[in-house]
């Protein structure tokens, strides 16, 4: 009788001690000690951010493993603007990719945390989600891959990813933001670049004066229209490289900047090891070109007038020059008025909303 009583007591005790909590492994508050699910599970909910394809643009290709979300973009923007990513905590992505300068650098060459200068002008990040490669020499295919570079580049942010991870994992705010965006408890570099890439994909410019004209919502002045015609003529011949509504062909060209070989910067050939790619650089988009001075891969031109003058003079021959530069030594022979009209048109690609957006 006593034995039976002890048995019943123990059984009741056993059941009464079962811990309640969230037993779902996939939940944010999964409790490995809990034995009874008490309905308290909280799940990782992200808010999808649908990047709307502007009229006439291709669909943006977004990696399956990095869909854009409000949480991811918010985190990416914070990281983009945070000097914490650099070796001494003084420099952020935005230091060289300045928003008001179309996310490029107003200096010819950017200066890293150690006071060292690079040899190329910082690329713009306008409509970067449509890039088929990144950097002037195309060495990074995806934006995620691109974002790995500057953080550890000794002449740029000069940090190590191990150090970045250590810093971020010691920061309670970032731990929470990464948890919200990616449902992770430990921040590794792959998630840092994912967040930055999400933010960059959200930087869409498609509301310039030209866009409004293209959509039938506005008009261009006679000078701008004439510039548009020159741009799309074989005399001006801007469109072959800066065509479509992306205003880039996403390809690489030697546009006749120099006459001497070997090239001081071999560009694409650095990546392909193919001598026929010497001196070729990625075509930049001309959207917001008014704001992205200086121009060319090495920032040699400080004004749009200098840029169009270069083409109007025909450029210089080197062995890999693009055959589209077919007026070598002769030039395009545009009049001053035509050059002025062409620049007027280029300025219609300015998207004030994009440049001023917080």
């Amino acid at each position: 009788m006593i034995k039976k009583g002890i048995f019943i007591f123990c059984t009741i005790l056993l059941f009464s001690c079962k811990k309640e909590g969230c037993t779902d492994f996939s939940a944010l508050n999964y409790n490995p000690d809990a034995q009874i699910n008490n309905g308290s599970c909280q799940y990782h909910n992200v808010t999808p951010f649908n990047i709307i394809t502007p009229t006439g643009f291709p669909n943006m290709i977004i990696p399956e493993d990095n869909p854009t979300t409000i949480e991811g973009i918010t985190l990416g923007k914070k990281l983009f603007n945070d000097p914490l990513l650099s070796g001494d905590g003084t420099q952020a992505c935005v230091s060289c990719h300045i928003h008001s300068a179309n996310f490029s650098d107003t200096n010819q060459f950017s200066t890293g945390i150690d006071g060292l200068e690079g040899n190329r002008n910082a690329s713009t990040i306008v409509n970067a989600g449509w890039n088929t490669s990144n950097f002037w020499d195309g060495r990074a295919i995806t934006l995620e891959e691109q974002a790995f570079g500057p953080v550890i580049n000794p002449i740029e942010m000069h940090n190590t990813w191990r150090n970045v991870e250590s810093t971020l994992n010691g920061n309670s705010e970032y731990l929470l933001l990464f948890k919200k965006a990616f449902n992770i408890d430990y921040i590794d570099s792959n998630y840092v670049v994912k967040a930055i890439a999400q933010f960059e994909r959200s930087l869409v410019s498609s509301n310039s004066k030209f866009d409004k004209f293209y959509r039938g919502e506005g008009s261009l002045t006679p000078s701008e229209l004439n510039g548009y015609a020159i741009y799309n003529s074989e005399q001006g011949d801007c469109f072959h490289c800066h065509g479509t509504l992306l205003f880039t062909d996403n390809l690489f060209h030697n546009n006749g900047l120099d006459s001497e070989e070997p090239f001081t910067d071999i560009g694409l050939a650095e990546v392909t090891n193919n001598p026929s790619d010497n001196g070729k650089f990625k075509t930049p988009s001309l959207r917001n070109v008014e704001y992205s001075a200086p121009y060319m891969h090495d920032g040699r031109f400080s004004t749009l007038e200098q840029v169009v003058a270069h083409y109007n003079e025909g450029g210089h021959y080197t062995s890999t020059i693009d055959p589209l530069m077919k007026k070598l030594g002769v030039g395009l022979q545009l009049t001053n008025q035509e050059l002025s009209d062409l620049i007027s048109f280029l300025k219609t690609l300015s998207d004030e909303d994009f440049i001023s957006e917080e």
Partner: protein
């Protein structure tokens, strides 16, 4: 040695026997399309000033990009029996574009001709219609000159290394200069899994002759409708040819 030969023969026979499935399991034939390019009898070597055109100009080829569309098999009256390819981009920058394995298209019966169009005919040559294709940004044709897409970009140097020509064909001012060609092939599919290789070859030098002698210059020709028509006429004449071969899986 004699025994070895017998053994080899036996093994070969066994392989052949086992490689051929029973008749009821035979797969349909299919087509591999190849796109090849030469300059008369010379193979295409990029960036070499070694070709001579009808006008006597020495020239090189740096880039050859073109769109070929509406590739199909027809009967002797030109009726479509099998559509093969809607549009295909061929680029000298990427030799993987030189062939198309159409293994998803199963053949059955007899086909008299193969037909294709250099460029895109006017019903579909519309700006942004191919906006999601990888070649969209490279081949588009400005709206101000008629819109749509370049049919072909043939670029290089002539006379010397630093004088360039751009042969860009397309729907200049909206006029359709695409070139549709049809060639007899007399292809019979006996549904034994064979692969029919059809090579569509382009003799680049013939763009510049017959019936019109084209002289290369540094002037663009996109807005030059007379030159576009001359190139269409030359292209219709003898720029293209085809060659057939077959890989037999079973005998």
């Amino acid at each position: 040695m004699k025994n070895l030969s017998k053994l080899t023969l036996l093994i070969s026979s066994l392989v052949l026997l086992t490689a051929c499935p029973p008749k009821e399991q035979m797969q349909a034939d299919h087509i591999n399309l190849h796109f090849s390019h030469k300059v008369d009898t010379l193979t295409l070597i990029k960036d070499s000033l070694l070709y001579t055109n009808e006008a006597g100009q020495l020239y090189s080829i740096k880039n050859l990009h073109y769109l070929i569309s509406d590739i199909k098999l027809t009967d002797e009256d030109g009726n479509t029996l099998q559509e093969l390819v809607s549009e295909h981009f061929v680029s000298s920058d990427d030799e993987s574009t030189y062939s198309l394995n159409l293994s998803d298209i199963l053949l059955s019966g007899e086909y008299d001709n193969i037909e294709f169009t250099l460029g895109i005919n006017s019903t579909r040559n519309i700006s942004n219609l191919l906006v999601n294709e990888t070649y969209h940004t490279q081949m588009f044709w400005p709206d101000m000159m008629g819109g749509g897409y370049h049919y072909m970009k043939l670029e290089g140097a002539f006379d010397n290394d630093s004088t360039f020509y751009n042969i860009h064909t397309g729907a200049s001012m909206g006029n359709d200069y695409s070139i549709t060609k049809s060639f007899p092939i007399n292809l019979t599919s006996i549904e034994n899994g064979n692969i029919h290789i059809i090579d569509i070859n382009m003799n680049i030098n013939n763009w510049f002759s017959n019936p019109n002698t084209i002289t290369l210059s540094t002037d663009g020709i996109m807005g030059n409708m007379q030159r576009q028509m001359e190139l269409k006429q030359n292209g219709t004449e003898d720029v293209f040819g085809i060659a057939l071969s077959e890989i037999a899986i079973c005998y």
